[in-house]
Symmetry: C2
Subunit: 201 residues, 2 copies
Amino acid sequence: MNKIITIGREFGSGGREFGRKLAELLAFPYYDREIIAEIAKRTSLSEKYVQNIAEHKPVIPFPIHTGRTFWAVMPDYGQSVQSEQHNIIREVASKSDCVIVGRGADYILREYQPFRIFVYSDMETKITRCRENQSNDYEQSEMTDKELSRRIEQINKSRADYYEFYTGQKWGDKSNYDLLVNTSFIKPDKLAEAVKLVISN
Amino acid sequence: MNKIITIGREFGSGGREFGRKLAELLAFPYYDREIIAEIAKRTSLSEKYVQNIAEHKPVIPFPIHTGRTFWAVMPDYGQSVQSEQHNIIREVASKSDCVIVGRGADYILREYQPFRIFVYSDMETKITRCRENQSNDYEQSEMTDKELSRRIEQINKSRADYYEFYTGQKWGDKSNYDLLVNTSFIKPDKLAEAVKLVISN
């Protein structure tokens, strides 16, 4: 069975940087935005639109209650984007060892018994990281720290909602992970080396 | 300022073995039961009695409510054991770098900005570990898996209560730690090497 490493991450805690480094050290393929690009290709929707749908729990236009069961009716695009995302995650896992960031992959691939990592950090570190990476984000560069902090909280709330909607598990709760790391004081490179050491036989 | 590493641990998840190995690799003094022995020496109480008091939140014989404030009145021994434990933890931290297991040391020593680790594991692993270490525990060796599982849960409930009573924080919640590790599939030796790598400059 292929060795799968999944990385859940709070926005601003360096999950992508760490994941890339880890994949490089292990010589594993790395999947993050690549999944969005592939969905866009398969559905002929724009990447921006796909990303918006693929990373949010559905807005439910017609909630239907049947007894105690609650059914979510998604717009057609939402269903096909989620379904493609699920298929692609399963396809890449079946092809080879890999590192997958976000998207509830830890849950979707649970029968692979992936090594499930979650990275988080304090707000000060998140803000600093966002400022460093904001060169292309005009809107963000104009924000005060308070506004940016609120924006980061919103994004993380949305990630938590997405994860909880699709997995029925609590995002960032240790019972769903093998390793949780506060990246406020740990460099992504060093963390990647340590994880490589831990998972090697 | 001395480098302090604190280890919170679920009973049965190998915290002691990991802590000893980490202290050995770093050449740091290691404090766990040593603290109990020192309290016993200072208070002239037996080690067994001290351990029982030092690891449980107080039984409150006379709860007093004053407005919305709740005061815990502990028996004299309880107060002096807790107070000695607090003093000893602060003394050892002020003396040199060290590894301290349990006892809310992460909170007591917060101004040192310790590297705060929490180890946990699934129940199956806990039971296996307890069986391996039970050679001197007649009572435990007679238990069925179900009885042992209940016993492990009780001990961990008691550790959570103790931590929450003295720190006001949630035991095992990632917001209070820098690294949380599920030790179900990771050997203590390997984890110690990885942590050494992460905390080295």
